[in-house]
Point group: C2
Chain length 410, copies 2
């Protein structure tokens, strides 16, 4: 037996994805293996992330995960089984009290491993917490495991959760292209896709091209200024070629002056000051109707983009479990203040998992690179599709009850 | 060999579904079996329904469906592979010219079997056409095969296409309930579901209750007057029980005065004079935000309801093929002017296929019956779920390419 080091706690934070529970499963699998070996005492789950930790809403996961089936059910359940939060920790120098409070809880439960599964803001929590525990010489390993459907985290080839969202979007766009093709009257369908700052999810609509040959006519990403005249010109060109035009547009496209295209629609800021967007598709559909005069329709994929676990990518789910497990291995080896990342092989598609310092990830945004966007700025390149394709490969198998997917509750 | 009677033509009409191509496959399978037996000469497909027929845009389906795989691919392709139209035939007494024109085309191609797969308006076409050919003694069998995601056709236990749409809706609602459950702040999510006059699809959101125990808090169907005060009271009651309230509402709900709830949103009439609805969810979300003061979100499932073939019901697809095949059998037996229907066994779930006169189906709407709606009018009964449950059972298997479903093009 190796030496007992202490207990572990795991939490989920930020917006849900179809794969964040797969990563949770990986962490629990890894940590319970550590319990078996005598290195870890108990494995706690914090309900609603750091928020629930502060309220000592902890659950003993070892008592719940007593069969392989429970892990499998969890891995195919969307959203965050432990619950989530949107709390961002203050700067430890400005407000050490919040950190002292958390450390008291760690001491009370003898917590020496802290795993936090989340997006950009959660990696900020990992960075601050690891710096703080180091500054006070509290012996603890703090590891972040990324998740975001947006794929916009720095330091990793892609993010857990992105592949499943991309598969849902590409599948739905492909089905909508079929749907639109049935009538002979001219019509423009605008699909609005999530992605506040980065166009990865919108780009994935282009994957429909690789299966059957027809993708959206145009794809507009927030990485390029949106210009109404060019847009109308694109639409007119497409309508000359065929009557059923399908567009993919990111919710976050902006004009050259920095204004969001949907800015005339109501919106408000979330807890982090991010502007909530909606209505880009609706606004553009109305503009096309007025300018071009044809029938238009706006389709907003909305919440299903982040929770459609029934069409999750098998690659994404497998990798998401693996990165959770690896996080525990790294913590046991003594790594702290790091975020786990995927590294892709130079040729083919092989992923290895490693870690990078949280400071290299937190509060950075990884945009779609220039080489992935056509020079005209209204579509994605073959190179982009090559990058995306392996991420959506494979179909998940899950249990059904009454014709519906079985979801696991903690 | 039986006696050669003539050629067959099949068309699709009205809004697409995930199962209308399965029915097309069934008709082609049945008709090509008739070709084998020497009863039928050629099997034509009309592109874009009656509209393409009038323009002689016919395709020889026998030349295309030369392998079992092509049938299988077609059965898992959403929308209408032959294309669709929204043309309604005039009354033969008012305008016999249109019918004379069609008969000339029938004679030119020696068409003696006419199969039309469509909804309510298409069954009107079947009725008028069969009456006309009978009135002029043109020897022909005209058969309608129903399809509609709305499940609102009279004379049948349910409609081909409904089960798949219901499975998509119930699955998505279940996933959204997971998604909503992750935060502790009070929030109301309103899912807006298709169904202009009948609430069948909205009712199917309740199926989530049968798998895991939690369905939407309330379900509002167009079969009941919508009352804002009762609605706000429902929301307040639900928010006392738990913070994450999820509502399912039909796009077609109306106030007691007959006005649509979304009437303040822009809308226009389609070719049949039906008012196009959208914005019920958005309107109600805004109303709840103003009245109750909590966070709200509207999710409109939109087009995917009728084309999400990736999550089609196996039961629906199997039955949809079978009803197409049976239509050909009935036509060969001499049935004309009829619409094919499903009849459910008194106990258990066993479907037999028969036909009823088109006049008993056309221009009628089958509503959700009183016994399927709770006395308070804001949810569905267990009896309703018992009726719905078998319709979404079973998962389809389909081919993939680049991680996406393979779709068949004619």
């Amino acid at each position: 037996m190796e030496k007992l080091y202490g207990n572990a706690v795991v939490g989920q934070s930020g917006g849900p994805t179809a794969a964040i529970n797969a990563t949770l499963s990986g962490v629990i699998r890894g940590a319970l293996a550590g319990v078996e070996k005598g290195i870890i005492g108990k494995v706690y789950g914090m309900r609603n992330g750091i928020e629930g930790l502060c309220e000592e809403r902890l659950v003993d996961l070892g008592k719940i995960f007593t069969s392989e089936q429970r892990f499998l059910d969890l891995e195919h359940t969307p959203a965050a089984a432990l619950g989530s939060c949107r709390k961002k920790l203050p700067n430890p120098k400005d407000n050490p009290l919040a950190f002292e409070f958390i450390i008291d809880i760690f001491k009370k439960y003898d917590i020496r491993y802290f795993f936090y599964i989340g997006g950009n803001d959660s990696m900020d929590t990992v960075m601050k917490l690891s710096e703080y525990v180091e500054s006070i010489d509290y012996d603890m390993r703090v590891i972040g495991v990324p998740k975001t459907i947006d794929n916009d985290l720095a330091g990793t080839d892609h993010t857990p959760g992105f592949g499943s969202a991309a598969k849902y979007i590409a599948t739905s766009v492909k089905e909508i292209i079929c749907d639109c093709a049935v009538y002979t009257t001219k019509a423009v369908t605008i699909t609005e896709i999530m992605g506040r700052d980065a166009g990865w999810l919108t780009a994935s609509a282009g994957l429909a091209r690789l299966s059957g040959g027809q993708g959206p006519d145009y794809i507009y990403l927030p990485e390029r200024d949106f210009d109404m005249d060019s847009f109308f010109s694109d639409i007119r060109t497409a309508l000359k070629a065929h009557p059923n035009v399908v567009i993919a547009v990111s919710e976050g496209v902006k004009f050259a002056n920095g204004q969001y295209v949907c800015e005339n629609m109501p919106g408000k800021a979330d807890a982090f000051g991010h502007k909530q967007l909606s209505g880009t598709g609706t606004s553009l559909a109305a503009a096309v109707r007025a300018e071009v005069g044809c029938k238009t329709r706006a389709v907003e994929f909305n919440t299903s983009q982040r929770c459609a676990a029934h069409i999750a990518s098998k690659t994404d789910i497998k990798e998401s479990v693996a990165i959770g497990k690896k996080a525990v291995e790294y913590a046991i080896k003594g790594v702290s203040g790091h975020v786990m990342v995927y590294i892709r092989s130079k040729t083919g598609y092989k992923i290895t998992i490693d870690s990078v310092p949280a400071v290299d990830v937190a509060n950075k945004v990884r945009h779609v690179p220039d080489e992935f966007i056509t020079p005209s700025g209204n579509n994605v390149t073959e190179k982009c599709l090559e990058y995306l394709r392996p991420l959506i490969e494979g179909e998940v198998k899950y249990r059904h009850e009454a014709g519906l997917p079985v979801h696991f509750k903690i």
